[in-house]
């Protein structure tokens, strides 16, 4: 990974992005001159207390929200200048989202939920192989309400991954899970990163998760207060909290 940092240009780059909500005296700046860079295949963990702007950062990175200033470049494309239609096309081709709540379609099976996003890609991953990777092979024909929380989140990750997105954005993906399941999911993310080399941004409250990241960002009141390369990266299975 170190080598990659040296020879490649940044895959994901934000420069001086600003974002406010409200107007007049009620105006709140949630991102205030945020700049950072990520390289292809990196896992980046973003930490920060509630209201620090980490979810907003993820949303603007995914083109779900516009920014007031600055630029966001992903794989050489400035998405801050894209119109909604191009953004939609961009998300379709390049991005995968995983949320705290799985948002699975209740009347589709595990496999079919994953197929929903495979449909969007010209070169989706092999679904059966992915189901094995996710540990969902034996559950592939079950409906979401027949799965545990962890299995549902695996399915949501599979759905995001099946397009083989260049950038995987995860918002509190373990927030609704117990310790054991959360670690399993993080191990899965690690495995996916190693298998498919996607760049992954994980937003979390859970500080110890930073230990599995290549890069760590800490946000406070909309500003980056820490941005560093994690030299002592741990395997997900070794994380403790």
């Amino acid at each position: 990974m170190e080598k990659k940092n040296e020879i490649n240009t940044a895959f994901f780059s934000v420069k001086n992005i600003e974002k406010s909500y409200g107007t007049g005296s009620a105006k709140v700046k949630v991102l205030d001159g945020v700049s950072t860079e990520l390289y292809e295949g990196e896992i980046c963990v973003i930490l920060g207390p509630s209201g620090s702007g980490k979810s907003t950062f993820l949303n603007v990175a995914g083109g779900l929200e516009s920014i007031d200033g600055g630029s966001i470049t992903i794989d050489g494309q400035d998405i801050s200048k894209m119109d909604p239609k191009s953004l939609g096309r961009y998300r379709r081709d390049k991005l995968g989202f995983v949320f705290q709540f799985y948002n699975l379609i209740p009347n589709l099976t595990v496999k079919e939920n994953i197929e929903v996003c495979a449909y969007l890609s010209k070169n989706p991953l092999e679904i059966d192989e992915l189901l094995h990777t996710l540990g969902l092979w034996e559950h592939k024909d079950k409906f979401p309400n027949q799965l545990s929380g962890g299995q549902q989140q695996r399915c949501a990750i599979g759905r995001a991954l099946v397009k083989n997105p260049a950038l995987l954005l995860c918002d509190e993906l373990t927030g609704a899970l117990d310790y054991k399941t959360a670690k399993e999911i993080l191990a899965l993310i690690e495995k996916i990163n190693q298998t498919y080399h996607n760049t992954i941004i994980i937003v979390t409250h859970n500080e110890p998760i930073k230990n599995m990241a290549h890069r760590v960002l800490k946000l406070h009141d909309g500003r980056i207060v820490k941005d560093y390369v994690n030299e002592t990266q741990l395997s997900a299975k070794d994380l403790e909290w």
Binding site: G88, R91, D93, F101, I105, V116, L120, K163
Partner: protein, 754 residues
Amino acid sequence: MKNPLRKRFKRDLKSNKGRYFAILLMMTVTIAIMSGFLAVADGAQKVLNENRADCKLEDGSFTAVKKISTAAQAETEKLGVSVYENDYVNEKLPDEATLRIYQDREQINLVTVIDGKSPVNKNEIAVDRLFAESYGLEVGESLTINEVPMIITGLISVPDYSALFKNNSDLMMDSFHFGVGIVSAGVLQSFPANEIVMDYSYYFDNRDLTEKEKRNLSTDIKDKLVDNGAILTSFVTAENNQSISFIDDDMGSDVPMMKVFLSLIILIMAFVFSIVITSTIETEAPIIGTLLASGYTKYELIRHYITMPIAVTLVSAMIGNIIGYTMMPDFFKGMYYGSYSLPPMDIELNMEALLLTTVLPIAMMIGINFVALYRKLSISPLNFLRKELKKSKNRRAVKLPNVSFFNRFRLRVIIQNKKSYITLFVGIFLASFILMFGLVITPMISHYVDSIKQSAVSDYQYILKGPVEPENPGNAEKMTFSALETYYSPAGKNIEVSFFGLREDSDYFDDLPISDDEKGGYLSDGLAKKLGAKPGDTLDFVNPYTDKEYSIKVIGITDYPGALTVFMSQKQLNELLDRDSSYFNGYFSDQELTFTDKNSLATVITPEDMSKFGDQMLSSFKQMAPLCLFAAIVIYLVLMVVLTKLVIDKNALSISFLKVFGYETSEIRKIYLKATTLVVLGSLLLCLPLVNLGIQGCFLIVQMKLSGYLPVYIPMYLYAEIVAIGMASYFVINFIHMRRINKIQLSAALKNRE
């Protein structure tokens, strides 16, 4: 790769089978009724038009006091018209029925034999099919005509009597008491000469005349006949002859009414679907947010959500049309053949009906749901993920009155589901209107007939051909009668008005302040309402046989439901008609009068004649009531089951929470079901005045077709019946909802992670 979202359809259909079945049922029934009706109406119109052309239907007819001269006929025919003698006799049959007997026609108004054969021998007769069915005659039976038994050889239809009106001024056709018969050549001459009515039909040589040209030519024909010495007793164009044109007027209003009915139902169902979809979108907001964030476009999601309404509509259209063409025609044919004398018809595929019952519903479904989906899916993926589906966040909660907690809770439920409830209200209104239309006919006609009988001034009204004294005058009172016409703008044609000239001190109209010195007349209230006339107005009338025009001032309005009538002083009327002051041509009498010369009698009217009208009206509408009741109950049930279930579905989580908090099921029912019960009851009550207005408006159209005035009468018990039927339908649904609420598990709330 096909979109995997499509796999949801089958499962959605399975898990919401009740909802989709209800919608499918309602649309299928509507489309079946519509397609069947339009196919039959089209078939009837086609067979009518073909029969009129093939059988050379007259362009007009007239009767004369005596046979018109050859010269008069020749002069008239120079105008570009052929005149045919078409004499008849009115033969009295038992049960106050009249059979109008013509000689078999060879040149005009040709006969169509439906069953059996035409009469050949002098003791044979063929009778109109509808009259035979109504009166109870069959081929092979014997009928005494002119004191001679005649064998019925066949059942027929004639193009000049598609509707069996005895007199053109009759309020309604009457197949129970009036029919047409055909005898072979020469038989008519065996009747007493004074009973033979000199009737003539005319037929334009130029078949491409415009309506205006036809009217002008008819006027010229009448003038020419009068100029050549013909004494006409009636002259009527085919357009103004109710026996010919009533069916056109009837179908002319039935078909658009049915089209409006279909459009309204489909429109309501499209709104119902849009509410169902909107509710689904609200439930699935985070999923939609995820799909949009993953790259699904708005149009892909619109396509997904709009597929089900289109599919349901398409299936309804297919099943509806199959039923419409296989099972419904007999029902609608029964309606037409039970009212009109038509030759047999074939049901063919009607392209307009097919378009109206397939393309129109699908187009409406796409249009309304596309707009609803486009609006609903116009918010950002992030807002979907956050379940922030309202565009304005600053909307303040509606401030509720300071009532009990339960009432406030119920009000919140009503406000939350206002779209469903508004659609439900519209549906309840439509269903109640249909129900009222079906239920009101019988009491309205009975009331009308009763009021005529009650307000009858005399047991007998005799209209004579001239001033003749009866053999037993008794308390009979002389009067002058004349039939004039006035223009009735809503129908765009002239209507006949009876003028009665009364004595100043009339014993039969003692409430009417008739004065020989006062010009003008009193209008019967039906005439006043029909023409929108009030005291002080001046109305124009015309004598259709002389074209002489009269202006009559309205002195007042009097309660006389029997006919469209003007009452005035006999002296004034005689003066108006250029008659001697002593002239009279009729009697009011409470006893039956006898006249030496029976030929002097033109008409006798008794109050019982009106009950004949009642029988016919009730017979024409008898199939309407069960159809309306069925349609209304289907609409009530379907809309209630679909829309009120949404309220439960939308609040399933809240209901689960309430159970967790310790609310008992009965208390939860009080909140959620009572809110719906109150809305249903309120809608039923609120729509009653609107139903009343709708019925009044609807009968304005009916009035245009009638040559009289049928007052709208809605007895109070019908309102109660509608509320009772509506509430009974609702309680069936309510029972299902009660079970649904019982089934909602506490775990739904406990499992909820948001």
